[in-house]
Every structure is written in structure tokens, then in C-alpha cells.
């Protein structure tokens, strides 16, 4: 087992909130010994070991210390207690284009920004065309950056950041900025990094993304690690924490003895590799785990695809399933070829009672795939299969 890429031990970060603090030498002389401050621990006893190639989702309510943790790990802030050790080059997508100078051209800024992020001039020269192509800024690369639109600015910043060939990528809510196609590009790039074996630490409020992208989820609350492990459970735990859990209406007690959707995985059926987004014409597989309390009646699983404006496009139902003795079953839907109709599609999965059609539990994934076909309408021809996946019994 290789040494972890990121290892934080007992990390705490204290901020002092100064009520009255000298900010100049003059005040310092007049005010001395009158300073009062309040302590605020943004992080407390955080132990985190992240191995090479892991993708970890870092989630938590606002103010829980996520961004502070990223800054401490990336060496921007020094921890008050504990130690942080990082191996490899870090690229953080915290602030895209930080350090751009409006007076300089895009080309000059690429060199400057790459140098700040740790690239040598020769490396930058090697990646230059690729960076510009990725940012889709070929015609504008010799214009001053101050004339760029905010989208162009962010694209260029992102292009540089992802081309520094990082060992570790820190992503903080970049998906909140930029338009749809940019967000998709971000996700595609993240997928590419995963395949390359890059370690990714991913902060997001889009909980749907966590099970799709991450192999591990860490929940922070008030600066402490509340959960570290299964990403689905992490998302679930945060939903409970935020009071937006799926079990809101029925209450936790009722929910627990009903069948549930435990985990959902989207992947490419050919390679088996996890994939967040699909395009028209591609094959898609959705596999998900269902847990049911022992002795439950058979359940059915439904997958529904909705198009723009939440219009249902097609629905697939599985045959009734008989969960194993441990109450778990895994179902796989495979779509041979996604339709080529223009749009962004969401999908939802649900566990239902096949006899009464009561939905026990459902989960919705927005923007699961994008079709780039040129037709707005067309005949939908979807070939799909469902199968209950034989589970290898562990232990």
C-alpha cells in the first residue's frame, strides 16, 4: 500500500475574531494591551488520509469548514494544531483565474498563471496549444484579458489549472460557476483525472454528484469529521443534518423498515468505468443497490428518464425482485444506445411495491446525460435490459 497522498493528523484551525485590533503601527502604540479577541475553531481534530487515486467528496453545511480544510491541505492556511503532509503537485480549482492581470493578453496570462501554479516555461510551451484549445479561446488569445467575458475568463483559468498535470486536484464548488456546457466540461475533465489516477478532493453542495463521482464521502460539521466512508451514506447523512432527508415525511423510524435505494452507480457498460455524463448514441448502464428489511415482499425497481422541463420520456420497470437473505439486491439497467434527441436528461430511480404501485423510496439525478443530436423531436427507440446482478457473498 502506497503512502497516502494527503495525510492530515489532528488538524485544527483556530481563527481569532478581533474586536479591537491594531491594524497600523500607530494604533499599535496607542492601543497596546487593549486587544480582545474571540476564538473560533473552524476545524477541530480532523484526521484524514487520502490515498493516491481516490476521489473524495467533501460535504457539509455552510460554515462547516470545508473551504478552510481545502485551504489548509493546499498550504494556503497554516493549521493551528496537527500536521498536514502532502505528496505531489496540487492544483486547486478554488478561484479560477486568480492572478490574471487584465492588462495582459490571454497568452501572457497563461504563462504567468502556469508559472504561479508551478509549471516551468518549457512545460507551458508544450501545453500551450492544448490549453487554448480547451478554453476555446483561439481567436482571442492575443486580446487583453480585461476585454474577456466572465465566461472566457473562467474557462481560461480552468484550462490552465487542469493542465498543470496535478497529482492532487482540489475542487471547490467550481460547478456553481459557468454555464451548462462549461460544467459538463469540468465533470468530463474530472473523470479524465480519475482515470489518470489523480487524487481528487471535491467540495460540493450538489449531493447528487457525490455518489456518482466519488468513491468516498466525508461529512464535515462544525469543523469536525462526522462521517468518512461510503459516499451514499455521506450524502444521506448530510441530508438528515440539513433536514432535507428523504425520510422527512414518514420519519426515520417508519422509513427504516421499508425498502430503500441504497446506492446508485452510473457507468459505461463496455468498460465498467464510472461515468457521470453520457451523450446521445452512447451506451449507459445504471446499477443500483436496494435494501429491504428481512422478510419483505418482493419489490420492483423503476427507472424513469425525464427530458427538458421534467417531461417524462420513458420508464423502465424491473421484474419483481426477491432480495437476498441480507435484504440486499442489485439491479442493472443497460441502455444500448441513448437517443440522439437534443437535450439534457435527468433520471430517477425508485423502489416500488409491484402489487400496489406504492413508491417506497426514490432518488433523482438531474443532468445525468446530455444528448447532442440535431433533432428536436424524433421517434424514441430505446433498447434496454434489466437484470438482477448476482451478488458475490462476502465474508
Amino acid at each position: 500500500m502506497a503512502a497516502p497522498t494527503i495525510s492530515a493528523a489532528g488538524v485544527g484551525k483556530r481563527f481569532l475574531l478581533h474586536h479591537k485590533r491594531a491594524t497600523s503601527l500607530k494604533e499599535r502604540l496607542l492601543l497596546h494591551r487593549q486587544t480582545s479577541s474571540e476564538e473560533f475553531w473552524a476545524l477541530r481534530d480532523v484526521d484524514l488520509e487520502i490515498g493516491a487515486g481516490q476521489t473524495v467528496g467533501l460535504i457539509g453545511p455552510n460554515g462547516s469548514g470545508k473551504s478552510t480544510l481545502l485551504k489548509v491541505l493546499s498550504g494556503i492556511l497554516a493549521p493551528t494544531t496537527g500536521t498536514v503532509a502532502v505528496r505531489g503537485r496540487i492544483a486547486s480549482l478554488l478561484e479560477l483565474g486568480a492572478g490574471f492581470n487584465g492588462e495582459l493578453t490571454g497568452r501572457e496570462n497563461v504563462y504567468l498563471n502556469a508559472a504561479i501554479l508551478g509549471l516551468t516555461r518549457r512545460e507551458t510551451e508544450r501545453y500551450f496549444d492544448e490549453i487554448v484549445a480547451f478554453a476555446e479561446l483561439e481567436p482571442f488569445i492575443d486580446n487583453q484579458v480585461k476585454h474577456y467575458s466572465s465566461g472566457q475568463y473562467v474557462r481560461l483559468g480552468f484550462a490552465v489549472a487542469v493542465h498543470v498535470s496535478p497529482d492532487i486536484l482540489l475542487v471547490d464548488e467550481v460547478l456553481a460557476v459557468g454555464d451548462e456546457s462549461f460544467q459538463r466540461k469540468c465533470l468530463d475533465k474530472i473523470g479524465e483525472f480519475q482515470q489518470r489516477g489523480c487524487t481528487i478532493l471535491f467540495v460540493t453542495h450538489a449531493l447528487d454528484l457525490i455518489p456518482r463521482i466519488c468513491s468516498r464521502g466525508v461529512v464535515l460539521d462544525h469543523g469536525r469529521v462526522l462521517h468518512d466512508g461510503d459516499p451514499v451514506e455521506a450524502a444521506e447523512q448530510l441530508r438528515t443534518l440539513l433536514g432535507t432527508g428523504a425520510d422527512q415525511t414518514g420519519g426515520a423510524a417508519v422509513q427504516r423498515d421499508r425498502p430503500r435505494v441504497a446506492a446508485v452507480r452510473l457507468f459505461d457498460p463496455a468498460s465498467g468505468a464510472d461515468k457521470g455524463h453520457f451523450r446521445g448514441g452512447e451506451a449507459m448502464a445504471v446499477e443500483f443497490d436496494v435494501t429491504a428489511p428481512p422478510g419483505s415482499p418482493p419489490v420492483a425497481v423503476r427507472m424513469a428518464v425525464t427530458g427538458p422541463a421534467d417531461v417524462p420520456m420513458w420508464v423502465m420497470d424491473s421484474d419483481p425482485l426477491h432480495p437476498g437473505p441480507d435484504g440486499a439486491a442489485t439491479v442493472r439497467f443497460t441502455v444500448k444506445e441513448l437517443p440522439q434527441i437534443k437535450g439534457i436528461y435527468a433520471f430517477a430511480v425508485a423502489v416500488r411495491d409491484p402489487s400496489t404501485n406504492v413508491t417506497y423510496d426514490a432518488r433523482r439525478f438531474s443532468e445525468a446525460f446530455l444528448a447532442v443530436g440535431d433533432t428536436g423531436t424524433g421517434v424514441l427507440e430505446v433498447v434496454w435490459t434489466t437484470e438482477q446482478v448476482e451478488r458475490q457473498v462476502e465474508r
Partner: protein, 293 residues
């Protein structure tokens, strides 16, 4: 697969170590930004020394006649080095605060920010010296002798001292924002306490006349004085000259180079100690930069 191990460790280290390439890139940026929209470009960097030369020539060659022949050469020899120190330090002071956006968000060696100001001023110094030497070739060939080598240690000392002051000022300015203003005032007083527009021997003679010659040591302990005087000896060359009215004027301490080397040595020691203090202070304070900004 990303290979881990020593290569990764090296890349991690490279993100916090001073990298010359980054420093060069920042200096290049400053130069580009400064001269982007000006037709005269670099010629502007000569305007400031020439303006000072004109004003001081008028004041000291006419109003307060000091009788120093070739006053322009004596003044420029010291002023160019002073101006390097002055503009680099003032410029560096605001760099950490001025790049708050970068400091708060990106991991990179912060030391390069003030050092880039030193580099920027250094490029100007080189160009100004080049033009100055072209002038000397035509008008003052005396400058080209063995004594010119004194300029090398003088430059080394002034660069070290400037780096030290830049590191100190830029890091302290994050915590105490009035450092910048205090420094501006201090530099003005400093300029007049350094023998740039008047010969150092005038100070020595005045102190001796008042029976305070022992104080001359303290006057010379200012590293900039040692640097400026050495540069004057290197370029102006002649300690004793005859003015146009036949008066014999002593501009620089006579004798060999002992006086100059001795004070340059003191200045070098002071600068080296200050550089260590500056680096230590900067490294100590930089942990809090992201919070203070």
C-alpha cells in the same frame, strides 16, 4: 497512473520553494504592464533620473554653488543605486497586500512577490547604467579604469540590502498597513542623509570642524552611504579635483581603496544579517497572510 514517490515530493516542494522561472515571469509581467500602452516605453525609465539631475544641477550648481566639477557624474553614480533601492523597497511593500486575491487562493512561494519588485527595479537599474555608461564613454572617459571594479561589491551589497528591506517591509505591511506611509517618509529623510547630492567629505569636514568627528562612523554605518560612496569612487574616480575657479575641492576620501572596502564590508555584514532577519520574519508572518488579508 500518477507516479508517486520522489518525483511527487519534488513537485510538492516546487510549489513552495522560490522558483527563478516564476520570479522571471513576474518581473516580465510587471515590465509588460508598465510599458504596454506607452509609445516611448523604456525611455520613460530614464525620465526620473534626468529630472532629478536637472533639478539638483540647478540647485547645487547655481543656487547653492557647491563647486563640484562634473557634478552630474558624481550625482548619477550614487543616485542610480539609491533610486534602485528606493523604488524596489517602496514597490515591494505593497506587493503582498496588492496580490491579496492570489495570496488567499493559490499556493505558491509568497517570497517571490517582494523579490519580483527587486527584480523589476534591477532591470531598470541595468538599463539606466547602460545609458549612463554610454554617456561616460563619450564625455567622461576617466571612469574606465581599474577602480571601476568597486562597482561590483557595491552592487552586490545594495541588492542584498534591498532584498532584506523588501522582505521586511512587505511582510510587516500585511499586519500594519501604515508601514507603507511610514516608509515613504523614512526614505525621504534617508535620501538626504546619504551623500548623493553632496560629497561625503563635506559631512566629514563639518563634523570635524564641530569636534564631532567620532560621529562620522555612525554616518558611514548607513549601508547606502557605503554603497553610494563606493560607486562614486568607482565612476567619478577622482577624490580631489580642481574646480573651474581654481579652487581645489576634495569630493571623496583620498588614499587607496581601504576606506571604501572597509565600509562596504560593514554594509555587507549588516545587509547579510538583515537578509536573514527579513527571510525569517517573512516566513514567520506568511503563515498568517491568507488570514490577515
Amino acid at each position: 497512473m500518477v507516479q508517486l514517490g520522489s518525483a511527487a515530493d519534488a513537485r510538492a516542494a516546487a510549489q513552495s520553494r522560490v522558483r527563478w522561472e516564476l520570479l522571471a515571469e513576474l518581473v516580465r509581467k510587471d515590465l509588460k504592464v508598465k510599458y504596454k500602452n506607452s509609445a516611448l516605453g523604456f525611455v520613460w525609465s530614464l525620465a526620473n533620473p534626468l529630472l532629478y539631475l536637472a533639478v539638483f544641477s540647478l540647485v547645487f550648481g547655481f543656487f547653492l554653488k557647491n563647486n563640484v566639477p562634473w557634478f552630474a557624474v558624481m550625482f548619477m553614480s550614487g543616485y542610480l543605486l539609491w533610486s534602485f533601492f528606493n523604488s524596489a523597497t517602496l514597490d515591494a511593500t505593497g506587493t503582498v497586500v496588492g496580490n491579496a486575491n492570489l495570496v488567499r487562493k493559490v499556493r505558491f512561494p509568497r517570497v517571490v512577490l517582494p523579490l519580483a519588485s527587486v527584480g523589476f527595479a534591477g532591470v531598470h537599474l541595468l538599463l539606466q547604467l547602460l545609458v549612463f555608461f554610454l554617456f561616460l564613454v563619450l564625455a567622461y572617459p576617466d571612469a574606465f579604469g581599474a577602480q571601476l571594479w568597486l562597482l561590483v561589491p557595491a552592487l552586490a551589497v545594495v541588492v542584498t540590502f534591498t532584498m532584506a528591506m523588501s522582505l521586511l517591509a512587505s511582510s510587516l505591511n500585511v499586519r500594519y498597513r501604515d508601514v507603507q506611509h511610514l516608509l515613504e517618509i523614512a526614505l525621504l529623510a534617508w535620501f538626504w542623509l546619504t551623500p548623493i547630492v553632496y560629497p561625503v567629505t563635506f559631512v566629514r569636514d563639518q563634523l570635524a570642524g564641530a569636534g564631532l568627528l567620532w560621529m562620522f562612523k555612525f554616518y558611514m554605518a548607513n549601508p547606502l552611504t557605503a554603497v553610494v560612496v563606493a560607486a562614486q569612487r568607482a565612476i567619478y574616480v577622482h577624490p580631489v579635483v580642481t574646480a573651474s575657479n581654481g579652487e581645489v575641492v576634495q569630493v571623496l576620501p583620498a588614499g587607496g581603496y581601504g576606506f571604501y572596502l572597509q565600509w562596504l564590508g560593514v554594509a555587507a555584514a549588516v545587509s547579510a544579517v538583515l537578509l536573514v532577519v527579513g527571510l525569517w520574519t517573512f516566513r514567520r508572518l506568511q503563515a498568517d497572510f491568507a488570514e490577515e488579508l
